[in-house]
């Protein structure tokens, strides 16, 4: 129990020092936040501009004659179709990669076998494979099995590039879990599948959420596979569609581009807002094991 005592000179100085430190931290955080928000604010501002106002000098934050034309494009049936495709692909990839990654990570954490470490290193090493090399190999494989131009091609492709990170992330979580939980469940008569489903997975929920969010965001933003594996509008995800709609030599529809970008950023922002607690605790818990 602490007793309130007289305020000495040194504690007053400490309080002033701490106050200054807090102010400095707040200032740095504010500047950093502003720097990160700046391009987002510019994106939103441009989304309301007409083509001729985009490169206006001096630039204006609030356009003189705001236009909603960009949002008509962003909310058109065609763009919503691409949006839906991205939702399907990113959600399915998040489920598949997180599910497969969790099982793989659990096995690597709990089963002692020769080459355990080599598997982890191989997974880590696979992150160094250049995407173009991977792309040609996957394209050839998907062409041979006849799944090019389908959701499955994208889901599998995105799973391939995210799985190593998921395994590494979740293995740390499983390593940190005391084995006594599983042993107690086994003694109570649970099968291995029940142990994983009813005991282990609920305990690593923050890790699973963090992994799923990571996979979802990676899949949502992925461009090259979406462009290469998909040739029809039926399955094309939003980044590839934006590439085709706007990113060309004669680009001038910056207002439309930014309106679409604003709309497609919303699900990601929503995801972070809703699962921020899980995401932050997931990442930090995975980072400090033991």
């Amino acid at each position: 129990m602490k007793h309130a005592g007289p305020v000495t000179g040194s504690t007053a100085q400490n309080a002033v020092g701490e106050g200054r430190f807090t102010l400095a931290r707040l200032a740095v955080a504010t500047i950093a936040t502003l720097m990160m928000l700046w391009p987002i604010a510019w994106m939103v501002s441009t989304s309301f501009k007409r083509p001729e106002a985009v490169f206006e000098l001096p630039p204006r934050w609030i356009p003189e004659a705001p236009s909603l034309a960009g949002y008509e494009v962003a909310l058109s049936a065609a763009v919503l179709r691409y949006f839906l495709n991205s939702v399907i692909v990113a959600s399915a990839t998040a489920l598949l990669a997180t599910g497969a990654g969790a099982l793989c990570a659990y096995g690597l954490s709990r089963l002692r076998f020769r080459g355990n470490r080599a598997v982890m290193l191989a997974l880590l090493g696979s992150l160094g494979l250049p995407i173009p090399l991977l792309m040609v190999t996957l394209y050839l494989l998907f062409f041979r099995v006849g799944i090019l131009d389908s959701y499955l091609a994208l889901i599998l492709g995105h799973t391939v590039i995210t799985l190593p990170v998921v395994v590494w992330l979740l293995k740390d979580f499983f390593d940190a879990l005391p084995r006594e939980f599983e042993e107690a469940a086994f003694i109570d008569g649970a099968s291995p599948a029940q142990v994983i489903r009813l005991v282990i997975l609920p305990l690593v929920r923050p890790g699973l959420a963090a992994a799923a969010i990571f996979v979802f965001v990676t899949s949502w933003n992925e461009f090259i596979f979406g462009m290469t594996f998909i040739s029809s509008d039926t399955y094309r995800p939003i980044p590839a569609a934006m590439g085709l709609l706007f990113l060309n030599e004669f680009q001038y529809r910056w207002g439309d581009t930014m309106a679409v970008a604003t709309v497609v950023t919303l699900p990601i922002m929503l995801l972070f807002v809703l699962f921020q607690r899980y995401f932050v605790s997931g990442i930090t818990a995975g980072a400090v094991k033991g």
Partner: protein, 429 residues
């Protein structure tokens, strides 16, 4: 139970009977086309019309158009070729062709399109598209690069807009006079809109300037050369313009075009697509016409009095993996050599829609003064100073050195290092 089975048998029987005849299915052909054509807004309506018209004339053919983002087109085609799933036809830029040819991706056109038809395309252009003695593509959207200039700024700077600069010193003087004009539209007036960003195009578009200084980018043995006096002169010309504030350092393709369309640059080097660009970017504020706001002229002549035009064509090629090469050839022939198709294509897109010189001189092309200016210089235009699969990598290696010179580094030393880097890029496998 028996009733259920009978119903199923009847349903299956009816479904099979309702299917198209196997003969009809066997006769239906698919033509797969990959390229950026449908992604350029001012090309798209014309391209869609072309595809519909071909299918109307060939009811047994279905076209599968696979759009690619311009900067991703080479990668997309390369992956499809390596994956054994190449489309039948590709629309590409000539600088990508050497890489595709090194993969044996392209089909020679002789034997598929008659020699008489092929001879209608300018010889110089055919040379650019000939690999190992075989013509492997034809120009769909020819792109001789001309000096596009702002007539209003010329007049304001005390220059005669009807007498654009003819020599390189005259050109430099005109740029400097225009960039001395007072600020407008919220910014400084640039004498010229030059591409100076980190992209390979910055090096590619230095080539016409090197030619203008009387130089080449290859030596007499056809080897890459970036240290000749005209190259150094071209680099120093870039630096001088940037130092004087007459060109914007780091400007991307988009920046240069926006600057020009805002009426804040005197000159820009562009092709026949300039009409669509200016129309879209200036929201119809600037008119392209001999007596309008914008007009074009040939590149200034080099010290020997020779005018050399750089080119950036859109070309069409048949792939070696095409399943029905005759069908692919019939599409190319329809697109480039049918007068009605070419005219309609041009009327919708407002851009040169063939390299066939007979058709360029007649019909809708023949009646358009802007197009005829470009047509005049098409036979003289060159797209590829060197046919090498790693040409773009070499161009990419030059860019940091061009930017260093622009920033004030020694031109000779940078050119020597640039040459070494580019040669290393060319020698990689």
């Amino acid at each position: 139970m028996r009733g259920w089975k009978s119903s199923l048998a009847l349903t299956l029987g009816l479904a099979i009977a309702a299917l198209p005849g196997t003969d009809a299915l066997a006769q239906q052909k698919t033509l797969r086309i990959m390229g950026y054509q449908a992604t350029f807004e001012h090309f798209r309506p014309a391209w869609e019309w072309v595809l519909e018209e071909f299918q109307r004339r060939h009811p047994d053919v279905t076209i599968e158009d696979i759009p690619t983002a311009f900067n991703e087109t080479l990668n997309q085609i390369t992956v499809a070729v390596l994956g054994g799933n190449a489309p039948d036809i590709v629309i590409v830029n000539p600088v990508w062709m050497a890489q595709l040819d090194s993969l044996d991706a392209l089909q020679p056109l002789s034997g598929l399109i008659s020699d008489a038809e092929l001879a209608k395309f300018p010889e110089r252009v055919r040379e650019d598209l000939t690999f190992d003695g075989e013509l492997k593509a034809l120009p769909l959207n020819p792109g001789p690069i001309m000096m596009v200039y702002n007539r209003d700024l010329m007049r304001e700077a005390g220059l005669d807009p009807d007498a654009p600069p003819k020599t390189w010193p005259e050109f430099t003087t005109a740029i400097e006079k225009i960039c001395a004009l007072p600020d407008r539209n919220g910014g400084k007036v640039s004498g010229i809109a030059l591409r100076l960003d980190r992209g390979a195009q910055t090096a590619q578009w230095l080539i016409p300037v090197i030619w203008g200084m009387g130089g080449e980018i290859t030596d007499s043995d056809g080897e890459f050369n970036f240290t000749s006096p005209p190259v150094i002169e071209a680099l120093q010309w870039y630096r001088r313009l940037v130092e004087e504030g007459c060109a914007q350092p780091g400007a991307t393709v988009g920046d240069t075009r926006n600057l020009f369309a805002q009426g804040r640059a005197g000159f820009i080097f562009e092709g026949p697509w300039i009409r669509g660009l200016v129309r879209n970017l200036s929201a119809d504020q600037l008119q392209i016409a001999p007596d309008g706001n914008i007009w074009i002229a040939p590149m200034p002549e080099n010290p020997s009095g020779e005018v050399r035009q750089f080119a950036n064509h859109g070309v069409i090629a048949i792939t070696a993996q095409a399943k029905d090469k005759e069908l692919a050839a019939s599409f190319v022939d329809f697109l480039l050599n049918d007068p009605d198709v070419v005219d309609k294509h041009f009327e919708i897109a407002q851009i040169m829609a063939t390299g066939n010189t007979e058709l360029l001189a007649s019909g809708a092309h023949g009646a358009d003064p802007l197009t005829q200016e470009f047509v005049k210089y098409l036979p003289n235009s060159q797209a590829l100073p060197m046919q090498h699969p790693r040409w773009l990598a070499a161009m990419d290696a030059l860019v940091p050195h061009i930017q260093s010179v622009v920033d004030g580094a020694d031109a000779q030393a940078e050119a020597e290092q640039a040459e070494r880097d580019a040669q290393r890029a060319l020698s990689r496998r």
